[in-house]
């Protein structure tokens, strides 16, 4: 029987010719990522070594990456102390892939990993962050785990008790309309699948829409696959994957490009006609509460956020700048921009995107997770409404349970900034 893409990756990481869906295995880990919650991983790691008489050393410092992004610069002394502990730990353990709070190499973990070529096709990547699914965009089997599980990985270099997941195949064909993009596609898919429709499963993306999509767009799809409950979202690697890794990430070594077998067995196959998609929006308070922008047009918006690991890349900022250039954000609506990394920030600065956005009235913030998870900047007031290109709209997500969050593409966010209400970018804002 043929294997799906994830079966092939897992089999290779277990040194086995094949694995079957449901097999319980202990694959080797090629990359283990943490951010600020690495402080908890450190605590659990030292617990593992307690009373063993052994010195606590990570299994392989070259396979660990730690990126400070959730609360940068620190919002509290507690966070600053956690960050300090991580800095010291990385020094002591020889972890070179430590991305500190710096304008040259900082950013959001899910942008830094691809940008620096840390992720390759065929890798098993684990991260103490649910959006680790992002890295499936480069053909890795990448999934989120908890801090204790990561401490176990730091110790053993394998992830214990992985059940080989079943796969839902998603075939996407047709050309996306102008002002409709990967975010609309993934929101539509989550609406179809529901928030739990892919729980314990992998989403494997195929079709000509995916083949002609940039890695940036694929990162959006895989990033939000977890919002349908998926263990991982994966785009099997192709020439675009190679192009991105060679040209943008500077990877020189050989790449391993696997494909799923033609007789692979899928749980089910979904067909999506991309040409028929309208701009989509996730309404409060679940990501699967999907409507078209038309259905919710004219809702007043207090805060607009463009950024995050989902939609804070250069193409996202370009799209927003194009819509807002030479215009003004409506009074009574504020807009915050969070580029996904400092490389993107500097590039957007050079290309004039940031000045166009600031001149329109947007506030340009430093790269980081920002208000996405309600711990740092950009909290919402009581009964305020936010429209964000981020990935979650759960009650309280942006720091206030008495507020509402809608999720959309950068195009919808920018068009809505002009009117101060949820607006369809195809109508050119005002």
């Amino acid at each position: 029987m043929g294997m799906t893409y994830v079966q092939k990756v897992i089999a290779a990481a277990c040194n086995r010719p094949t694995v079957a869906i449901g097999d319980v295995v202990e694959p080797e880990v090629h990359l283990a990522m943490s951010h600020e919650n690495g402080a908890l991983v450190m605590n659990q790691f030292s617990e593992i070594y307690k009373d063993t008489g052994l010195e606590a050393r990570v299994w392989n410092p070259d396979r660990i990456a730690i990126i400070l992004d959730h609360r940068v610069p620190a919002e509290s002394s507690k966070t600053a102390t956690n960050q300090k502990k991580l800095r010291e730990f990385c020094g002591k353990q020889g972890i070179a892939r430590f991305h500190d709070i710096r304008g040259d190499e900082g950013g959001i973990c899910h942008q830094i990993l691809p940008e620096y070529g840390y992720v390759r096709p065929g890798m098993v990547v684990v991260g103490t962050d649910s959006h680790t699914t992002s890295h499936g965009a480069l053909g890795a089997f990448a999934f989120g785990i908890g801090a204790t599980e990561m401490a176990s990985v730091w110790t053993l270099g394998h992830i214990l008790n992985v059940e080989v997941p079943g796969t839902i195949r998603v075939n996407v064909n047709g050309k996306l309309s102008p002002f409709v993009g990967p975010k609309d596609l993934i929101l539509y898919l989550i609406g179809q699948l529901t928030a739990e429709g892919a729980n314990f499963k992998v989403l494997e993306f195929h079709g000509d829409t995916i083949r002609s999509m940039s890695t940036s767009g694929r990162l959006v799809l895989c990033n939000m696959s977890v919002e349908a409950g998926a263990t991982s979202g994966i785009v099997p690697p192709d020439t675009e994957t190679q192009r991105y890794l060679r040209e943008e990430a500077g990877v020189k070594d050989e790449l391993q490009l696997m494909t799923p077998d033609v007789d692979a067995v899928y749980e089910k196959t979904l067909e999506i006609n991309a040409a028929r998609l309208d701009p989509q929006i996730a309404c409060p308070h679940t990501v699967d509460n999907i409507k078209t922008v038309k259905e919710v047009a004219n809702i007043k918006v207090d805060q607009i956020v463009i950024g995050s690991c989902t939609n804070g890349r250069l193409d996202d900022l370009a799209a927003a700048a194009q819509i807002l250039k030479g215009k003004k954000i409506a009074r009574g609506t504020r807009m915050l921009i969070f580029p996904a990394s400092w490389r993107i920030y500097r590039e957007a600065l050079q290309r004039g995107y940031l000045s166009a956005l600031a001149e329109a009235g947007a506030v340009i913030c430093n790269p980081g997770c920002g208000p996405c998870l309600g711990v740092h900047q950009g909290a919402l007031g009581d009964k305020e409404v936010a429209l964000a290109t981020t990935n979650r709209n759960f009650k309280g997500r942006m720091g206030n349970p008495n507020s509402e969050v809608y999720l959309c593409s950068p195009e919808v966010a920018a068009a809505s900034a002009l009117t101060g209400t949820i607006s369809d970018p195809r109508e050119g804002g005002r």
């Binding site: 966070t79 649910s130 204790t148 599980e149 008790n161 314990f200 679940t286 997500r397 720091g399 349970p401």
Partner: protein, 164 residues
């Protein structure tokens, strides 16, 4: 035997169980104070020690969806609660097993706040309603971690085996 102290709907996210604004607090000894922080009444009951150990939370589908934050499991473990859900989100379930938070998958569970609950072998017995509901066993692979007392002791065993 214990009482249902909280009943919640489907798709309860980790943002509700442990709001993001408390994420700088990481240690399992410190997280319990923020359990369901925005469910003020329930959170106050916990902090005023009005919720006996061994009480139950009854949830719908996809409990613990969203963030991988382990605080969502450790904060409930700290109060020695048991979560009975129709089913759980993958990462939350794994975190619970790793930390030893008692979780019960019970797809047909019917219970209301105040009901007396008993776990009897392969069923959840709602004593108040006089009904029994079948438990879906956890994947066998997880049993080794549970038997070892959680992932920390389990990993320690494996580490010492490797070094031996």
């Amino acid at each position: 035997m214990g009482k249902v102290v909280l009943k919640v709907a489907d798709d309860i996210s980790t943002d509700i169980i442990y709001p993001g604004r408390f994420m700088a607090t990481v240690l399992p000894t410190e997280t319990p104070q923020f359990a369901f922080a925005d469910h003020t009444d329930f959170n106050n009951k916990l902090k005023n020690n009005q919720v006996p150990k061994g009480s139950y939370i009854v949830a719908g589908q996809n409990f613990g969806c969203g963030s991988s934050r382990e605080q969502a499991a450790s904060c409930l473990k700290g109060w020695e609660l048991t979560v009975i859900a129709k089913h759980f989100s993958r990462i939350f379930l794994q975190n619970s097993i790793n930390l030893g938070l008692a979780t019960v998958i019970c797809p047909d569970i019917l219970a209301d706040e105040g009901d007396e609950i008993e776990i009897a072998g392969e069923v959840v017995r709602n004593v108040t309603k006089g009904k029994e509901f079948k438990i879906t066993p956890l994947p066998k692979a997880r049993q080794a971690i549970i038997d070892a007392g959680g992932l920390i002791p389990y990993t320690r065993q494996r580490l010492l085996m490797n070094k031996a």
